[in-house]
């Protein structure tokens, strides 16, 4: 006889109840802290609510009409697209290159990988503050380096010139996302069967042809997932732009999240802020669905 075994079903045996119990907290968290504010935001976008007053009236599409006629909003929308696309292009190139490097074996690889992952682990605000010094109008290490190397005549006002400021934002966003993308691409690379790579070597393909004709096509689903994460992170990020340029100079470098914050919180126009904030949502959903379908369609599976 085995006296210590309980004769009846205990709670641990009841997977139906146990499952609900364990999922409960996470579900409550998502509903209360993501779902409810999200529903509020959508509702606010159709209202004329302001901070500092409890009045709430439906305004229909007024907010959307107003922002679509607003050059600052259109500029911010354009910037959002440029920053997102620009940074992700940079990320794909950097991540693919870095993954090739980390596939090789070399001394100090573990340390290098640790350093690589730092940008991803550092809080956005801290990193952005460090970058404001790198792009500083007087102390910019980039300018001084270029000057010392004799490559720069004159001076670059990184955060003072709208075009350069946008470039600076793209660089920081790419820097922030690419370690994560590298890890994903590295995992994708290691999932390519070694024999396929060797077959292409025997078939006579050199490094570049192997990369573009064999490895990248096979990596496409994985890269699509990495880019999808990157697009969502970048398009919804407030911190980098807010700290780096604050939307300046003269509102030329706003992206939608910073503009929404400025209008809705600082400017107290909750309705318009919410409208700006949720404006990108339908587009992001379309992009996400598109990329997931791409990943699914090109998921060719192994040779067997």
């Amino acid at each position: 006889m085995t006296p210590s075994l309980p004769p009846r079903r205990t709670l641990a045996d009841r997977e139906d109840i146990l499952g609900a119990m364990m999922l409960g907290p996470a579900l409550a968290y998502v509903i209360l802290l993501v779902g409810v504010p999200f529903a509020f935001a959508i509702a606010l976008g159709f209202s004329n609510a302001t901070a500092g007053s409890l009045s709430f009236e439906w305004a229909g599409l007024d907010n959307y009409v107003a922002i679509l006629g607003d050059p600052i909003f259109l500029r911010a929308l354009c910037n959002s697209v440029v920053v997102t696309v620009g940074s992700q292009v940079l990320v794909v190139v950097l991540a693919t290159a870095a993954a090739q490097v980390f596939r090789a074996t070399f001394r100090g690889k573990r340390f290098a990988r640790f350093v690589l992952l730092l940008p991803w682990a550092v809080p956005v605000s801290l990193a952005a503050i460090a970058w404001t010094w790198i792009f500083d109008s007087t102390f910019s290490v980039i300018n001084w380096t270029l000057k010392a190397a004799g490559l720069l005549h004159g001076w670059l006002y990184w955060l003072g010139d709208p075009a350069l400021a946008l470039l600076a934002i793209i660089i920081v966003q790419a820097w922030r996302i690419f370690p994560f993308a590298t890890v994903i691409v590295l995992a994708g690379l290691s999932s390519i069967p070694q024999e396929i790579v060797e077959a292409s070597i025997v078939d006579g393909a050199g490094f570049w042809r192997r990369l573009f004709r064999v490895e990248l096509p096979l990596l496409l689903p994985v890269v699509a997932v990495a880019v999808l994460f990157g697009v969502v992170y970048t398009a919804t990020d407030l911190g980098v732009v807010y700290i780096l340029t604050g939307g300046g100079p003269a509102n030329t470098t706003h992206v939608l999240p910073t503009l929404a914050f400025q209008r809705g919180i600082l400017g107290a126009d909750l309705g318009q802020g919410a409208a700006i904030a949720v404006f990108l949502l339908p587009f992001l959903i379309v992009v996400a669905i598109g990329m997931l379908r791409l990943a699914h369609r090109t998921e060719v599976g192994g040779a067997r």
């Binding site: 025997v202 078939d203 006579g204 599976g301």
Partner: protein
């Protein structure tokens, strides 16, 4: 090791896993570098700096290693694209190769839409279009089911005879090795044990390793303690030569044994008879007799029978070194 492969020859590297046969193949291909020694293909020395693409070799991998994102046509044409062959010529060559392996109707499909046998033929096509000096095949039949393997083996041999290209073929399957090879290289732990035609390797193994590795069931080895032999000599004979004494004609010179039968295995075309013989040196050794179905004689289990081996089928080995005596 010192191994030279003749032009146009079908050479099989046979060995169990870890015997170094695949490593040897990969060194010929240039996928691995030898720590010492030289490799020549034709009159060109290729070890060291000559990359795989410059060696004039083509390789078929065990998993076929087809490019999953490319159609069959694009798979076969890949090596030609790499060598910047004109489009028209690529088209012609791919069609020619595809016809040779009768896969023309699959050219627009993707590898995942093909069966194992079809994939294997695509892999062979991809190797063929390069006009290589040497074909390197790494267990290309291992992933096929048993039935398909027979026809694939036949196709492979026919194809190699037709194009007359030197072929190095790696396998651990001795049936494949015997059936395909002009010569077989038996390898063990990185060393070549014997090089010879299938017949030489089977009938005149140079040592006890080859004697027991090649042949199914393996060669029987026992110390008979025969006074006419040098002391401590292993006598070897193939199971199919070990038959009831009554089946031999009177003109044959025989070595007879008292065979204590333990178990009889009926396999349709053959019967395997397991037992032992009462000899001095190795009293417990299991001896196997392989009786063809044409011998209908009843062999009851648990009894002792008079068995015999023709003297010409006996082989002698040194038990210390394993070498032939």
């Amino acid at each position: 090791m010192d191994l030279s492969i003749r032009d146009g020859e079908f050479l099989v590297l046979l060995g169990s896993s870890g015997s170094g046969k695949t490593t040897l193949l990969r060194m010929i291909a240039g996928l691995e570098q030898p720590t010492s020694g030289e490799i020549h293909i034709g009159d060109q020395r290729v070890d060291g700096d000559v990359p795989p693409r410059a060696r004039g070799i083509a390789m078929v991998f065990q998993s076929y290693a087809l490019y999953p994102h490319r159609t069959v046509f694009q798979n076969i044409s890949f090596p030609l694209e790499v060598s910047r062959t004109p489009r028209k010529q690529i088209e012609e060559k791919v069609r020619w190769a595809a016809e040779m392996f009768s896969i023309t109707r699959y050219l627009d499909r993707y590898p995942r839409q093909l069966s194992g046998g079809e994939r294997q033929r695509v892999a062979l096509c991809r190797a063929l279009v390069r006009d290589p000096k040497v074909f390197l095949l790494d267990e290309p039949l291992a992933n096929l089911d048993a039935k398909l393997r027979n026809t694939a083996r036949d196709d492979l041999k026919r194809f190699q005879r037709q194009i007359q290209t030197t072929t190095v073929y790696v396998t651990h399957d001795q049936v494949e090795a015997m059936g395909l090879g002009d010569r077989i290289v038996v390898m063990e732990r990185g060393k070549v044990r014997q090089v010879g035609t299938p017949q030489e390797v089977y009938e005149d193994p140079v040592d006890t390793f080859v004697a027991t590795f090649v042949g199914q069931p393996p060669m029987n080895l026992l110390d008979t303690g025969d006074p006419s032999l040098p002391p401590r000599t292993l006598t070897g004979f193939r199971p199919e030569h070990f038959l009831p004494q009554s089946v031999f004609g009177s003109g044959e010179e025989l070595r007879t044994f008292r065979f204590a039968v333990r178990r009889v295995e009926y396999l349709g075309s053959d019967r395997y008879v397991y037992g032992s013989v009462a000899v001095s040196g190795t009293p417990d050794a299991t001896i196997i007799a392989k009786l063809p179905a044409t011998i209908a004689l009843a062999i009851p289990e648990g009894e002792t029978h008079a068995f015999a081996v023709p003297r010409r089928a006996l082989r002698y080995f040194d038990p210390e070194t394993g070498l032939r005596r």
